[in-house]
Amino acid sequence: MASNAAVPFWRAAGMTYITYSNLCANLVSQCLKEPYRSEALNREKVHFSVSKWVDGKPEKPTTRSDTPE
């Protein structure tokens, strides 16, 4: 069977479909009227703490958050 059609430009540049889709969704959210814009941007906010494990012991956790502490 013949190979697929030419890859999309973003995949040729090394971007995955999920990254592309999220990028498009963010661009659309930024172009909305208030209050829809703040609702959409609030949905994407994250807040979590990550700790790496080395030699079976957890290191000090780092917090990733959109709201400054």
Binding site: A13, G14, M15, S21, A25, L27, V28, L32, A40
Partner: protein, 198 residues
């Protein structure tokens, strides 16, 4: 128990009962029977099967329904559920695709663009950021998108500002990735722009 029986009969009448629907209730009945045997005093829990709404059979190729059923789902909400319409136009990567009842089953990837649903004389328009459209052979169309916003919620001035910003980003982009991002921005914003005016 009688209440549950009546809801099950009603849900049968709402959708055309097919062999699949009968199989669903048979499995449910087995669970119910086993529950009553072991715990006759407790109310049985609702099983996932009881939440399942049977879909029209895909085998009925002879009759083309007069309207199609559209489900629009986005990441945050189910925008439309079982909406009846005459035609829907989806922004596929291969161009604007019109889907009528009786359309052949297909899967299309969507690009950022306008989704229009025609019902009689009314048109409902949504802007889709990207996603997929599944058309089944029973005239049910499932459209899933990361963001599906009614076109009225789009702000024209932000679109113009974004267009200028990304045109500038494209000219100053150096790496392949930056160029791709700027190009994506331009694609999305020019689609937004043309949907606002078109």
């Amino acid at each position: 128990m009688l209440r549950r029986a009546t809801t099950r009969i009603l849900s049968h009448r709402r959708h055309c009962s097919t062999a699949e629907a009968l199989k669903v209730t048979a499995a449910d009945d087995l669970f119910m029977a086993a529950w009553k045997r072991t715990m006759p005093n407790l109310d049985p829990p609702k099983t996932p099967l009881s939440f399942l709404q049977p879909r029209p059979s895909t085998a009925s190729a002879a009759s083309i329904p007069s309207k199609m059923t559209i489900n629009l789902v986005s990441s945050c909400s189910s925008g439309l559920s079982n909406k009846q319409a005459h035609m829907v136009i989806v922004p596929a990567t291969t161009g604007q695709m019109g889907i009528l009842p009786g359309h052949v089953a297909s899967i299309s990837e969507l690009k950022p663009g306008l989704l229009s649903i025609y019902e009689g004389n009314e048109v409902t328009k949504y802007f889709i950021s990207s996603g997929f459209a599944f058309v089944h052979s029973n005239s049910v169309a499932d459209i899933i998108a990361a963001e599906a916003v009614p076109i009225e919620q789009v702000d024209p001035s932000s679109v113009q500002k974004g267009l200028a910003e990304f045109t500038q980003k494209l000219s100053t982009a150096s790496t392949d990735l930056e160029k791709a991002e700027a190009q994506i921005g331009l694609d999305v914003l020019s689609a937004l722009n043309s949907s606002l005016s078109g």
